[in-house]
Amino acid sequence: MSLASASISSLRKQLLAGDITAVEIVDALAASVSARNEEIGAYLSTNLDDARAQAAAADLSKPLGGIPIALKDNINVLGQPCTCGSKFLSAGYTSPYDAHVTGLLRDAGAVLYGRTNLDEFAMGSATENSALMVTRNPRDTTRIPGGSSGGSAAAVAADLAIAALGSDTGGSIRQPASHCGIVGLKPSYGRVSRYGLVAFASSLDQIGPMTKSVEDAALLLQAIAGPDHRDSTCLNVPVPDYSADLHKGVAGMKLGIPKEYFGEGIDPEVRARVEEAVKRLEAAGAEIVEISLPHTEHAVATYYIIAPAEASSNLSRFDGIRYGQRAAAPKDLLDLYQRSREEGFGPEVKRRIILGTYVLSSGYYDAYYTRAQKVRTLIRRDFEDAFQKMDAILTPVAPAPARKLGENSGDPLHEYLSDIFTLAPNLAGLCAISVPAGTVASDTGTQLPVGLQILAPHLAESTLLRVAKAAEI
């Protein structure tokens, strides 16, 4: 087996035993990248020489010593490009600082290797909205990898990365993890600092691990979790040892099955794989209880008011003045703003900025934005009520396996509805994970991965990982 296909935990054992070197891991990855990245399109850029130098200098006594980690290209890494998958930033922006998670990875001894493709400014469910290139699903290259962290998911699934970081605003870690057959964890809101993550929707965004195993997700989360004085939404609470309870199993746990997540619109084969995973957890000693989350049907509408509203505000900083795209020969300042943004942003970003501006505008603010925030409270209460009795909740990640490239183009509402199972945990701030739950045969005979989504209360990542470990195939 190639070093590129190994997990963090297995590589750490081999490194500490002196059987391999960190430079050998980087070289193995470089060979995989040069063999397959052109076909898959996972990386926007790699920094092989720098990665070799980092590997040669890596302190193996640190928790991630010598382990290469890929980062989604909306997370700042000092001296490297940060394109956000956008034309706005692709013409020469270089990060003048490290994101908080980037610094923590360095502190943990990781080797920072490569920037992965994404939907522009993390807006999308397919990585088709990247302005820079297409990423393909390694399990079936005629299909999408999911989005918006599709580059990270594809890199891990195709053994072009050992592990990666993604960002999740409405499912952008879990959905591509599900479509590519890897593990993707969205931490609780406030668990991981957002400092240095280019903001999409500030009350929803979280950075999280995308890995080959649940054990690796625990190791990577351990490295990036914790307080940061530069992010006032990052919680100053202790970080537990996420690996400690991993193998304790689910015997005696109560796991809720929300009936609203198993209704019409879900592919029968996807439902079958998820139900099989539920049965495995029941056989492992968990008590399975049907529950109700009555406001689930309103999650898409609520999300597509709140997220664009926050995006329209966050993206106002892209004005052609301090960095990125600037229109040539502007006649005045307003002309510079308008044409720079027109030239720099792609259609999905413009659509969400306009939608967000509209729902925040005078006369519509209360009707749309305030109402959505109140419905958000109802959605959060549904979960609070459920977690009074349940340890965790089990659902599908997506209604269907990865679709063909180009299939939903021009129909954003249809595409938005595909996020129906992942949005509510972001609105409520919960932690959530996607774990591979088997595959479905496509019409062309390829096997398409299906993910099981597990939800746990705010800051209950230890419970989440324990259930995920028990569910892992």
Binding site: G92, P96, Y189, S203, H229, S232, T233, H295, E297, H298, V300, A301, Y304, S312, S316, D319, G320, I321, R322, Y323, G324, Q325, K331, D332, L333, L334, D335, L336, Y337, Q338, R339, R341, E342, P347, K350, R351, I353, I354, L355, T357, Y358, S361, A367, Y368, T370, R371, A372, K374, V375, R376, T377, L378, R380, G410, D411, P412, L413, N426, L427, H458
Partner: protein, 97 residues
């Protein structure tokens, strides 16, 4: 809830976006479909419900007001589309009197 249709060109102007005719037509259709979907929230009774801005408590974070190192000016200017004399250059903001 609102019943008027979105005036895409006007809202794009508020967003500092200059759209061409084709974009306006496409966005008009797509945004009306999306707004049609979100109208469903109007049916919910939210009387007396507090809005949720953040899913976790957010506190003001204060620190001592002490001078400290920041990102160097050169690093900031390195990303500016246009610069002169250690500053970012922009089109004239104030018209002649």
């Amino acid at each position: 809830m609102a019943t008027e249709h979105i005036d895409v060109r006007y809202v794009a102007g508020l967003s500092r976006l200059e759209l061409n005719e084709e974009e306006c037509a496409v966005f008009q259709r797509q945004l009306e479909a999306i707004l049609g979907h979100v109208e469903s929230l109007a049916a919910l009774d939210v009387t007396g419900i507090e809005p949720t801005s953040y899913p976790a408590p957010v506190y003001d974070v204060m620190r001592e007001d002490e001078p400290r190192e920041s990102i160097p000016t050169e690093a900031v200017l390195a990303n500016a589309p246009d610069q002169a004399q250690g500053q970012i250059r922009v089109p004239k903001v104030i018209a002649d009197a």
